[in-house]
């Protein structure tokens, strides 16, 4: 297992690359869902206001 | 029945979140003037700019002589003269130069035609002066002179009387009546009393 982690001495380059990719993918997923949720909330408010005074 | 010059149907337009024009429609014949009135911010300028094709419609169509203006915009524009809030004139050029260059975009024109146009709007004396040195009212009259020089079957004017004194307002009405009698059509956004006979005036109040 240790040998795997060392990546033949290149660990200091390989793992940061994977870590960065994982972080960016995670952020993308979070921001995508967040932007959808915000838009849905905005639409809900719009529909509520339209229904209360059509 | 005179052919419908300008028709608009089911126009929807937003400004930011506000739904300004909600399914508006009208038909305008030659010799008629549509007077658009309504409170500030209700969308008069937006409607006029939409009629000029400057603002794209979210829904609806505008037709000039039966053809959607978007199909042949250049043909529609060659018949159109627009006077917006801004005069569209350059401060560093003299009044005469401004009119010369504005009209030359459409047709050959001689300097004395320019002077005649300035005389028509009651400001012949401004010809040699740079526009920057003229008063707002004088600049507006030069813009009105440009309108009369550009010709065109359809005039669209946004608050033509702004910054004008009583004499200037009268000039607006004279130009408009001459244009309508010559068979032209006009859309004017103004609260000024245009003094047109009922047969020629089509009021449109925006809420």
């Amino acid at each position: 297992m240790l040998q795997f982690l060392q990546m033949g001495g290149y660990a200091v380059f390989v793992w940061p690359s994977y870590a960065l990719t994982a972080v960016v993918v995670g952020l993308n997923i979070y921001w995508a869902r967040r932007s959808l949720r915000d838009a849905q909330a905005q639409t809900r408010r719009r529909l509520a206001s339209v229904r209360s005074n059509p | 029945m005179r052919a419908n010059e300008l028709t608009a149907d089911n126009i929807h337009l937003w400004r930011g979140e506000r739904h300004l024009l909600q399914g508006l429609g009208f038909a305008l014949n030659s010799g008629e003037c549509l007077q658009v009135t309504g409170a500030n911010g209700v969308g008069k300028t937006t409607l006029l700019r939409a009629l000029c094709g400057l603002v794209p419609l979210e829904e609806g169509r505008i037709c000039w002589r039966g053809q959607d203006i978007l199909e042949d915009l250049e043909n529609y524009y060659s018949e159109l003269s627009y006077l917006g809030h801004d005069n569209g004139l350059k401060g560093d050029l003299t009044a005469a130069e401004n009119l010369l260059y504005a009209a030359r975009l459409r047709r050959r024109i001689s300097p004395d035609e320019v002077l005649a146009a300035l005389a028509r709007v009651g400001a012949p004396e401004v010809a040699p002066h740079r526009l920057r040195r003229l008063s707002a009212g004088q600049r507006r009259r030069v813009a009105l002179a440009r309108m009369s020089l550009m010709g065109g079957a359809l005039w669209i004017m946004d608050e033509p009387g702004s910054n004008l004194d009583a004499r200037g307002q009268a000039v607006v009405i004279e130009l408009l009546q001459a244009h309508l009698e010559a068979g032209g059509a006009a859309v004017v956004a103004t609260h000024q009393e245009l003094g047109l006979p009922a047969t020629r005036l089509r009021p449109l109040v925006l809420q």
Binding site: - | V55, N75, L80, Y82, L93, Y101, L105, R106, R107, R108
Partner: protein, 229 residues
């Protein structure tokens, strides 16, 4: 109305005459980018050392970065004023192809900012140690380069003309698109200075100008129309 209809060329000529007269009335403004170009190119020797042979190596960079930045400076004023005072609106509504008129306007802009820069470049080049024999090559490359820059930059100017606080947005939009012009232009100038044949980069530079001339009109008309909304 005596309808002596005129052709598009006459309308474009009237527009160009108006812009030229306007520019002459405010010659101070039009010479500003030129002054900027000279200042930028004189900064490089101050930052390096006065040794002409050393300067010769960086001359292409100094000339071209100077040309790029000064044309960027001039571009911001290309449409902004006409958009604000309503003149651009009148141009859009006059019934002639808008792309053609905007191209004429950009041509005048190039005549007032690009061409003078090309004509004054030998002065700056000599100051940077370029040999006399290199002048034709420098003139040719800058001629084509400033043309392409004006065309690409005009699209950026159209997109940002009605934004009040665009600041460096115009630069951010234009510079990546202008990178190829910078690469081929600087290379052509370097070859000219070295006295080697510079046909290859010149052809590529010419190709960029032609591409600009074909793509820019559509993009220009669309960008300005959107800015006028």
């Amino acid at each position: 109305m005596s309808e002596q209809r005129i052709g598009f060329a006459a309308a474009a000529a009237a527009l160009m005459a108006r812009d030229l007269r306007l520019a002459l009335r405010r010659s101070g403004d039009t010479l500003q980018p030129l002054g900027f170009f000279l200042v930028v190119t004189t900064l490089f020797p101050l930052a390096l050392d006065p040794e002409l042979s050393r300067l010769r190596d960086i001359a292409p960079a100094a000339l071209w970065v100077g040309a790029l930045l000064s044309s960027l400076l001039a571009l911001d004023r290309l449409f902004r004023e006409d958009a604000q005072d309503g003149a651009l609106e009148q141009l859009a509504l006059c019934g002639w192809p808008f792309a053609g008129l905007l191209l004429a306007k950009t041509a005048v802009h190039w005549l007032l900012t690009g061409l003078p820069l090309v004509l004054i470049a030998p002065l700056a080049a000599t100051a940077l140690g370029a040999p006399y024999a290199a002048m034709p090559g420098i003139l040719a490359s800058l001629f084509l380069g400033t043309l392409a820059l004006s065309l690409i930059g005009a699209v950026g100017a159209g997109l940002t003309m009605s934004l009040n606080r665009n600041g460096s947005l115009l630069a951010l939009l234009v510079l990546p698109l202008a990178a190829p012009v910078l690469i081929f232009g600087a290379r052509a100038t370097a070859l000219a200075i070295a006295g080697e044949p510079l046909a290859a980069p010149l052809y590529l530079l010419a190709a960029l100008s032609v591409l600009g001339a074909t793509l820019a009109p559509w993009a220009l008309a669309a960008a300005v129309r959107i800015g006028l909304e």
